[in-house]
Symmetry: C2
Subunit: 472 residues, 2 copies
């Protein structure tokens, strides 16, 4: 294993710190395939936890998993005009099957709206066939030029929900419901104090009527778009000629949504919670929540550890480090890998009926009684989870700024990292001016907060409160 010495300090080079953590905590490795990463066992175990929790949330809401082809014939991708314009520049094209050139080239799916619509056209005939609540776990490909582990990669692991509904109201509810599922998951499990809102016309998904977004803020004040939920209206359904016979005996066009999150969330986890000593993971998503390090080789010590583990609820994942490495090396490894709670136990502890707890979030080391240790462990894990959220939220709040006019806006961009909130007229011209002149992109229009003044850029009537920020 690599060590903490190989991790660049955040102050020195935040980008390098991030990739160092990815490598040193053994989450990823680079491959000979340009732009694609290898997700190593420890990184993949985080993704498996994410999948398990989200999949359960999806299924509880009635969603079903399916598997669509990974290829899309060019003619099928071309059916919806806005969609193809958004994706064509960045897809990978398969042009040969074995030694034979294909009659029609296929792209590797960059997203699967077209495939789902093609299928829905076949299987949706009557109002009885609705809603269709399908989800797919798969990988997608976007031929990015510059890539970074988890954040931007040619191949992305994700889930994509694609649903069809009888009424506009139902489809709009689904869009909002899944957006809140993502919000809840990221707040409660990933301990990310995300900001949620609606994308502007300029930033919405290619082909969508509305895009709702989850915006996380990294320690350096830069935004990470961490999940989106789209309302399509009847746009794709019309382009694909999908119709159903409604209860009133007339033919109608259904309403559609799609929603997705990716392994990018792991990047968000890292850049929110980790520190110069390595990865920090919230207990609810950590592959190993508690690591026990026996000091010495006494059988009594090992038995006591096993005894503690047996008394813990099965939901708590534990590991005993039985390798022949030195305790110091084991401590460093547990730290670099972000295991939430470390427990050291030796003969002397047994004599004193105590044990040493080391929290990864605060690096705090305490000696506690072995009496009721199971309860102490559970409480400490809960406390770590809550503390990580609170710490991230406090830091984020300090980086949420407000600008009354463009001068203030520019001054903040030059001096303070973070998001800037303004009143906005809703015109793309103002949004583009900010982007062109400062590099800040709109993050999201707030839903629960209305404009309370004129547009900070053009001075016309304010329509929305909106956040701007730099992004990954």
């Amino acid at each position: 294993m690599a060590t903490v010495n190989e991790i660049t300090n955040r102050d020195v080079d935040f980008a390098k710190w991030y990739t160092d953590i990815c490598r040193v905590a053994e989450l990823i490795d680079y491959s000979s395939v340009k732009g694609s990463m290898i997700i190593k066992p420890y990184g993949y175990a985080i993704w498996e936890n994410i999948q398990k929790i989200l999949d359960k949330m999806f299924k509880e809401l009635g969603h079903e998993n399916v598997q669509m082809p990974m290829f899309i014939p060019e003619s099928l991708l071309n059916v919806e005009k806005d969609h193809i314009e958004g994706f064509a520049p960045e897809v990978a094209w398969v042009t040969m099957g074995g030694n034979t050139p294909l009659e029609e080239r296929y792209c590797v799916r960059p997203t699967s709206e077209t495939l789902f619509c093609d299928h829905y056209k076949k299987i949706i005939k009557s109002y009885r066939d609705l809603p269709k609540l399908y989800n797919q776990w798969c990988t997608i490909v976007r031929w990015e030029k510059t890539t970074r582990p988890f954040l931007r990669s040619r191949e992305i692991l994700w889930q994509e929900g694609h649903t069809m509904h009888r009424t506009e109201e139902e489809a709009r509810n689904e869009t909002i419901t899944m957006w809140h599922v993502y919000e809840k998951f990221q707040k409660e499990y990933l301990a990310l104090p995300v900001i949620v809102g609606k994308k502007t016309e300029k930033e919405k998904f290619a082909g969508a009527e509305e895009t709702y977004t989850i915006e996380a803020m990294m320690q350096d004040g830069v935004a990470l778009q961490n999940g989106t939920s789209h309302y399509f209206g009847q746009k794709f359904a019309k382009a694909f000629d999908i119709e159903f016979l409604d209860q009133d005996n007339t033919m109608k066009t259904p309403y559609q949504t799609s929603w997705g999150v990716t392994t990018r969330m792991i990047g968000g986890l890292i850049m929110t919670h980790s520190d110069d000593n390595g990865l920090v993971l919230p207990p609810k998503i950590a592959p190993i929540q508690v690591i026990f390090i026996p000091i010495g080789k006494d059988e009594q010590v090992l038995n006591k550890i096993k005894d503690i583990i047996n008394k813990l609820p099965e939901t708590i994942t534990t590991k005993i480090d039985l390798t022949d490495k030195s305790p110091g090396y084991k401590f460093a490894e547990a730290e670099v890998k972000g295991i939430p709670l470390r427990i050291d136990l030796g003969n002397r502890d047994l004599e004193n009926n105590t044990v040493t707890l080391v929290r990864r979030d605060t690096l705090e080391k305490t000696t506690v009684s072995l009496e009721n240790i199971e309860k102490t462990i559970q409480n400490t894990l809960e406390d770590i989870q809550n503390n990580l959220y609170k710490t991230a939220e406090e830091r984020r709040n300090k980086m949420l700024h407000t600008a009354k006019n463009y001068e203030e806006f520019k001054k903040i961009t030059n001096s303070l990292p973070g998001f800037i909130k303004i009143n906005w007229c809703g015109e793309m011209a103002c949004e583009e001016k900010i982007k062109d002149e400062t590099g800040y992109k709109s993050r999201c229009i707030l839903i629960d907060e209305k404009a309370d003044g004129n547009c900070a850029i053009c001075g016309k009537n304010g329509k929305h409160k909106i956040y701007f920020g730099k992004q990954y």
Copy 2:
């Protein structure tokens, strides 16, 4: 839903019967993407059960999941000569990224030995890094010309284990262990009475030293290769220049295995257990094990059903059909979808303190007491699982033939479906003669049974007992 009337009888057209079941039981659908299928929710739920069970078995043996890129640069695929010769004719080539032709073309992985070796070269330095026991759940692509649902498809869902070991003995043990994991899984969960053995030189995996195989026999006597485990020796490791410093301070080359099973197993399930009325699923793999059909709308009836479900162990998956379809329609649907046990309950049953059980395997209908119904349900499910295995085994045994000479062999191929066992000299010439003249391919060399006579084809010394058969 489509109905049983749309299922062709097995006697009339076995191939059509199979695809009818796939469609009518709502396991798959065809797509606009030639050669690729859509796995529908009910079919995907079977795959999810397969994944859950196998993944647990793999992890209990110390395997870890990873994710490798889906693309392989041509130069990387070319490193091992036998391997590329085996796969090059059937891979899909990506030649364009967006609007730009690629400098080097990439194939979509047909299997990932080359990617794993490329990674192992980087991470295996010392004996302390061994063994590496990696597995990956993913899809692969092989550009097949003729395709059939689950059996042969351009895109295949599978898992591929790739392991590296310090010694030959350890690697050979791994190959055999995983082969037996597959055997155990298919016998115990899928209720498939599989035959296990070793592939011939001619039929082994491209690049492997030895391939161990799981051979299932379908109702029509045709073989389905249903999983393989390969021992590579040092072939790939040498081609990829992988070396480690051993405990004795010398550089050594590690030993390698790989092993995989695919969604093809679902095809094997269907063609082993199903009948002219539709799908038949073994309880241990069925997405829904018990379906309750309330007769009438009485609340008492529904409460009783809920009461029964609450008393069942959580491992038993149940569903109550609350749709407004007629009972007859519900019965037909449960039958076509192969739900192992149907339970009908109405007011009259409540009065008599009885309930009607309908087993999918035998179609037997019995009235049983509500007394201890939970235990009755559990016992019946177990009995269905065992009965499916026993029935399949008896049918298979009737289709296992022995031929002393080539004349007998040919006579059987002309009159009886199934596998034919012969003594074999081990020469490829005899194997090829059979294949060319009868269309029968070697299935597997038996491990526990030695030759007891001369080669049935050439009359020279018999080296092995071997099965031949037609295959899917």
